[in-house]
């Protein structure tokens, strides 16, 4: 089993979600996060004082899937989240030791 984590631009969330649904993904977990990468932050000005805001708002997606599914999911995210401009984000895949569905107690691939 794999955990796919993606950091994307917030306004791309809806498009990515729709693409994942079309690709047969059954569930995703979404968190609003902040961070910095190569994309520069922005400057805010309060009564003439400039503040350099390094952290850019992003959205983090987490998806679990069965081994073998991960490439399709990753490709779907990459295609739908891409604008071609700096700051599009990253996707990474992690191995999972186990998954349990709380309601039924199902384990591993059955719980995906």
């Amino acid at each position: 089993m794999k955990l796919i984590t993606a950091i994307i631009k917030p306004f791309k969330l809806d498009e990515v979600k729709e693409a994942l649904k079309s690709a047969g993904v059954h569930g995703i977990t979404v968190t609003e996060v902040q961070g910095f990468g190569r994309q520069a932050g922005h400057t805010e000005v309060y009564r003439g004082t400039e503040y350099k805001i390094d952290f850019v708002p992003k959205v983090k997606l987490e998806i679990v899937c069965a081994t073998g599914e991960e490439l399709r999911v990753v490709d779907t995210i990459v295609e739908s989240a891409r604008t071609g401009k700096i700051g599009d984000g990253k996707v990474w895949v992690t191995d999972l030791d186990g998954i349990i569905r709380i309601r039924t107690g199902e384990r591993n691939d059955d719980a995906v």
Partner: protein
């Protein structure tokens, strides 16, 4: 004769009307996405800055100076002569003589001039460039607002003389701004992602707070338009509140039957729709008529939102459905419900034995305001679009108005 009680009431009313603009800002601000809330608040608050100064320089004079029927003149530019107690405004002679100083009338009307173009910002939410908005706001106030205010409010104006009634601004404020909103959204285009992406309100408690401020301020708007502390002001006061109450109920009932739930946004929108519809009627109809007008407006405005998606444009916060449709509803219903026993300076509508004359005049006033405001608003916005551009670019829209236009964030 200047009356101290009336002066006190209209002073208070002017402050109440000013307070409606922050109320509107929060009403709208809660409905936009979090990245655009400061942009929305700023557009509304900025009207309190720019229009205030323009009104003193030239706006008031173009609306209420001179004896022409189409537009005022420059006699009161820079508030000339208004600061003397003896000044009488042209046309305001018996039976329209003012019981308050001319300077107070100017201050009171200033607050109307401020909120009217601010109403438009709900339609163009999330995508209007601030600099272009600033230019539109100033030009529109002088070229569109002042003439229409003259036609309808000044006893020398052609619609006033014709016998069209508008107690506090159904045509001048609500239809005028609603039509301008339509003209600008046709030019500026839809929000990026509309209508496929959901764009739910980011903070409904702010919207409900704004609704309360609007309702509170509207007492100054309508009851203050009696321009005196008298029976008429009291009538307008109770009519205003009853219409808002009935419209809230009307909206919620239709919403519950149509969509399954009575919502907080529906209750708030219904109240505002009722306040809009009673605005032209407040000092001309009985309290029971106000309840009927409000209830009808609540249902009609909700149904107007229901058919919005059949049109291609994106009126983000339903300015057209609430202010244009609500303003038309109130202005036309006045032709049915007007009652001379409530206000001898008014007229009798169809239901009170007055025949169709007033109703005809109401249609003329509504039609004239729609045509004039649409043509000029479209022309002003088109020139701005060709020179400065009305709309922010794609990256700015994705980032949001707050950071891209104002270099600030609302919620750190």
């Amino acid at each position: 004769m200047i009356d101290t009680g009336s002066t006190a009431w209209v002073l208070g009313s002017a402050a109440l009307v000013l307070f409606m603009t922050p109320g509107l800002a929060f009403f709208y601000g809660g409905m936009v996405r979090a990245k655009n809330v400061l942009g929305m608040l700023m557009q509304n608050y900025f009207a309190m800055g720019l229009i205030g100064v323009l009104w003193a320089i030239v706006g008031f004079s173009l609306a209420f100076g001179g004896s022409g029927k189409w537009i005022g003149n420059f006699d009161f530019a820079f508030l000339k002569d208004l600061q003397h107690a003896a000044t009488v405004l042209p046309g305001y002679k018996d039976p329209y003589a003012l019981a308050i100083p001319a300077l107070l009338f100017c201050a009171y009307q200033m607050m109307f001039a401020i909120i009217t173009p601010a109403l438009i910002t709900g339609a163009t939410a999330d995508r209007l460039k601030f600099a272009s908005y600033a230019v539109f706001l100033g030009v529109w106030s002088i070229v569109v607002y002042s003439p229409v205010a003259h036609w309808v409010f000044s006893p020398n104006g052609w619609l006033f003389k014709r016998g069209a009634l508008d107690f506090a601004g159904g045509t001048v404020v609500h239809i005028n701004a609603g039509v301008a909103a339509l003209a600008v959204v046709l030019l500026i285009g839809r929000r990026r992602g509309y209508p496929d992406e959901p764009m739910p309100p980011h903070n409904l408690p702010l919207t409900l707070l704004g609704t309360g401020i609007l309702w509170f301020g509207w007492f100054g708007f309508n009851a203050g338009s009696a321009l005196g502390a008298n029976q008429l002001a009291v009538q307008a006061f109770i009519n205003t509140s009853l219409a808002a109450s009935a419209a809230m109920l009307g909206w919620l009932v239709v919403e519950r039957l149509k969509d399954g739930h009575a919502t907080t946004l529906g209750g708030a929108s219904g109240a505002v729709a009722g306040l809009v519809a009673i605005t032209p009627c407040a000092g001309f109809v009985s309290a029971m008529s106000a309840i009927v007008i409000g209830a009808l407006a609540g249902g009609i405005c909700l149904l107007a939102i229901g058919i919005k998606r059949r049109f291609g444009f994106d009126d983000a916060l339903d300015v057209i459905a609430v202010h244009l449709v609500g303003g038309i509803t109130g202005s036309i219903l006045l032709g049915l419900f007007a009652d001379k026993s409530i206000n001898p300076l008014g007229a009798d509508g169809v239901f009170n034995g007055g025949g169709g004359e007033l109703l005809g005049n109401q249609f003329v006033a509504v039609g004239a305001t729609i045509v004039f405001s649409f043509v000029l608003s479209f022309a002003i916005a088109k020139v701005i679009d060709l020179t400065m551009g009305l709309r922010i670019d794609e990256a700015e829209e994705n980032e949001g108005l707050d950071i891209s236009q104002h270099a600030e964030t609302a919620y750190a």
